[in-house]
Amino acid sequence: MNILCIILAAILAPLFIGIVNQTKAFFGGRRGPGLFRLYADIRKLLGKSCPRPEHSTWIFDIAQSASLAAVAAAVIVFPWTGGGGLASLVPAALFFYLLAAGRFFTVIGSLDAGNAFEGMGASREVQFSALAELVVFVILGFLVFLAGDISLSGVLSGISPGEWRANVIPLVLVFLAFLAVFLLENCRVPFDDPETHLELTMIHEAMLLDVGGPDLAFALYGAALKFELLAAFLVMMFMPCFGNGWLHVLALFSGIALLSVATGIIESVMARMRFLKSPQTIMGAALVAALAVLIFVCF
């Protein structure tokens, strides 16, 4: 069943990006590109040749494959069916280190192109993600303390309605902090705008300027998987436990769909903030998470 869920997750990933975009189209009064646009894009890109910058090396050649592979490995260990299996042996820290390894390859791949704009994007990426790592690990500490378990499935075992009632303030604070990380890591508004195609104002897209063909398909699919994965993390963190059955899987994927709609709404009602404000916002999220820990531990 776990394997079936992994396959399901792999198939559904681009759909959630479609949901975000359709939500945005709805708010913008447009017809939108359709829910399945990304599938078509990926298919088209896979049929193209694989261009490289003039002087790139093997680093550029493997960068996109490696960064997709890292996300894929994280997808494999994720407890899609809720607890049990491999995920009960995987420490939660490993999960985020896999994502970090994928990011590292994207960054050095973009540096290999020798392009000023890609360097700019890579520079921003490492800055923001270094700060996001801080937020993530404060939240992980909180979850470990709450769940009494260091494994990924233990951390994601969910929060029952009774626990919600007892600790509503710290839980809401942690939710907000992780939401910030979710938007940042997926390069969504207000941290990055996937729609702008102005090189100076992008992070993730800027690192892919010279990537094309199957590599671009890998990068787009990897971004979609990462979106789905972090959304699933956020949903499972706070969802009450539905046992280990299909009910859980159904609840999980509807939760991700809801979060996609929410992301679309956030993107429709907010503008991207100035880059100089982003580090402050992430530091703010770290403080909010630390506050949640203090409230939870002390009261």
């Binding site: 049929g47 193209k48 040749s49 694989c50 261009p51 490289r52 910058p53 003039e54 002087h55 090396t57 093997w58 680093i59 493997i62 494959s65 490696a66 997709l68 592979a69 490995a73 494999i76 042996l89 995987v90 420490p91 939660a92 820290a93 490993l94 280190y97 390894a101 990011r103 590292f104 960054v107 050095i108 540096l111 290999d112 192109a113 392009n115 000023a116 890609e118 360097g119 700019m120 890579a122 520079s123 490492v126 800055q127 270094a130 790592e133 801080l134 993530v136 690990f137 404060v138 992980l140 500490g141 470990v144 303390f145 009494g148 260091i150 010279d210 063909g213 199957p214 590599d215 890998f218």
Partner: protein, 562 residues
């Protein structure tokens, strides 16, 4: 299970051997005239390091320790024609002697049961000066860039962790007492947290590749120190808790992992210096195509040292992470606080290490060459990269070895987790390879890889000078931590016609906080104090005779009175 002696002698032998092979080609041209001097100090350094590990008492240990400092100072001073090298040698010698002094004091105090904490404090200064505990790390970023690369490799990989050996060997008994364990644990935790985050933070803005690596050594020693500190705290609560052994094992495994990875990186930095004549990352770039073996091995090792799966650097840190999160899980207030401190410091360190090593790889080896020196570089003689390859193989071998090592030290605790982590890392590599195969064989045109000019916003002739430099890459992070880093900017504003600016330049410089903010003022004060003593040594023979007479008189009076 490996004994502590074995663990600390492996880096001496492995990194020492690789460095020796590398050195045969590293020292070339005019400098070959001084080869005997180099080998003399090189062999003495290795021998004294081995003696430190093998010494069977306090006195032989101290003698070997002092010999190690002196012999390696000879290595640092190898290129003593340069003023900066002479300055670095002085700083290093000072650090060695101050450390040895503190250790002698610690050795004396250790014999008195009522002065155990004082002895420990002296040892923190003495061993800390070698390990690079903040603020005693000030010599590392000076001495490492000044020393020849093979010497930096053995000093960073094998010599500085010997301070931890000293602690483990002489202070394990001290640690048994629960009240002492708290002192020991928190000292190590605090110094480790400051050292790891501060070390990697100061590595970020460094333009000089070896200076960056030196600061990264401070960071890695901080990681080891946090593991040992957490282990002591847990053992202080319950000596039988397998978590204590787990943290200890993680820290010791990290000593080995760091030795191989960092040794190889320093050797690569030496190869870059030999082939291009500079270590300034803003003037390098594009070396991956010109020096493919050196560059590839550098990239692999930097990836490992950034603490990312699947390489060995990650597994040691993971063991410490598991220890930290398990400490949070226990619910004991002290352990929760310690666990949070370790987890948060490790995560910040990890995030910043990714930035620092992406910069090191990107600035030095990727993109376009930014100077003629980098453009003209060619691959090193084979034995130089074979030395790197040897250490890299050891790193790869350390992946399963770390799991076995932790298994044997903890008696099976957390073995399953580490095996899953290692296998998952391998599957990450395997998926990468299969995706590459898919791209090549399953995509209809995946084999076509046309070379196209890079996209520069529609401008069709981007030059290497328009690419992002290493400094620009880290500038946002450096700006964020400006109050701490105190990076100085030297800006040369452009002259003449604003439409075609010329001669504009910018350079940044980040000095070590401890050196500039603490040690330089302290030593300036000391020097001023001793200026007064100069009155007694003014060159006048009459004064000297007067002093001798007065001393004799004073002694006579003293003899009669008593």
């Amino acid at each position: 299970m490996l004994s502590t002696e074995t663990i600390f002698s492996i880096p001496v032998l492995a990194v020492g051997g690789a460095a020796a092979v590398h050195a045969t080609a590293y020292i070339h041209g005019e400098a070959r005239r001084h080869l005997p001097r180099f080998w003399c100090f090189f062999v003495l350094t290795l021998a004294s390091m081995a003696a430190v590990v093998l010494a069977d008492g306090k006195l032989p240990f101290l003698l070997a320790w002092e010999a190690m400092g002196l012999a390696s100072a000879g290595l640092v001073a190898f290129e003593s024609k340069e003023k900066s090298v002479r300055k670095a040698t002085w700083i290093y010698l000072l650090a060695c002697h101050a450390g040895a002094c503190a250790l002698m004091l610690a050795g004396v105090l250790m014999n008195r049961p009522d002065a155990a904490v004082a002895a420990f404090a002296c040892a923190v200064v003495g061993f800390g000066l070698k390990i690079g505990f903040p603020p005693f790390h000030a010599w590392l970023p000076e001495a490492h860039p000044a020393a020849p690369a093979p010497a930096s490799a053995i000093m960073s990989g094998a010599m500085i962790p010997l301070g931890f050996y000293g602690f483990i060997r002489f202070f394990s008994v001290f640690c048994m007492e629960p009240s002492n364990a708290v002192v020991y644990g928190w000292t190590f935790l605090a110094l480790g947290a400051i050292g790891s985050v501060g070390g990697i933070l100061f590595a970020l803005p460094q333009a000089n590749l070896k200076r960056l690596l030196a600061f990264s050594s401070v960071e890695n020693m901080g990681v080891v120190s946090m593991g040992l500190g957490l282990s002591a705290l847990i053992a202080g609560k319950d000596a039988k808790n397998p978590l204590a052994a787990l943290c200890m094992a993680g820290a010791l495994a990290h000593v080995l992992n760091h030795a191989f990875l960092k040794g190889s990186l320093f050797l690569a930095a030496g190869s870059v210096l030999r082939q291009t004549g500079t270590l300034d990352q803003d003037r390098l770039g594009g070396l991956m195509r010109r020096m493919p073996f050196t560059g590839t091995l550098f990239a692999v090792n930097a990836f490992g040292l950034a603490g990312l799966p699947p390489l060995n650097g990650f597994l040691g840190e993971l063991a410490i992470y598991i220890g930290a999160f398990s400490a949070i899980k226990t619910g004991d207030p002290v352990l929760v606080a310690a666990g949070f401190l370790v987890a948060v410091s490790l995560s910040v360190t990890g995030g910043l290490a990714i930035a620092a090593y992406a910069k090191a790889i990107g600035g030095t080896f990727l993109g376009e060459p930014r100077s003629k020196m980098a453009d003209d570089a060619v691959e090193t003689p084979r034995r130089m990269w074979v030395a790197q390859l040897f250490l890299t193989c050891l790193s790869v071998a350390m992946v399963p070895r770390t799991v076995l090592f932790v298994h044997s030290m903890t008696g099976g605790f957390a073995t399953g987790i580490l095996i899953v982590a290692a296998v998952l890392g391998m599957s990450f590599a395997a998926i990468t390879v299969s995706l590459l195969l898919i791209r090549r064989f399953a995509c209809p045109r995946g084999g076509e890889k046309p070379r196209l000019p890079v996209w520069d916003c529609g401008y069709d002739r981007p030059t290497a000078r328009m690419a992002y430099t290493a400094m620009a890459f880290t500038q946002p992070l450096v700006d964020l931590f400006r109050p701490l880093l105190r990076t100085r900017r030297h800006v040369l504003p452009f002259k003449g016609d604003p439409a075609s600016p010329s001669d504009a330049a910018i350079a940044t410089e980040t000095d070590d906080l401890a050196l500039g903010g603490l040690w330089r003022p302290v030593f300036t004060k000391i020097a001023r104090l001793f200026q007064r003593v100069h009155l007694l040594q003014n060159g006048s023979l009459h004064l000297y005779i007067l002093i001798i007479l007065m001393a004799v008189l004073a002694l006579l009076v003293f003899a009669f009175v008593s």
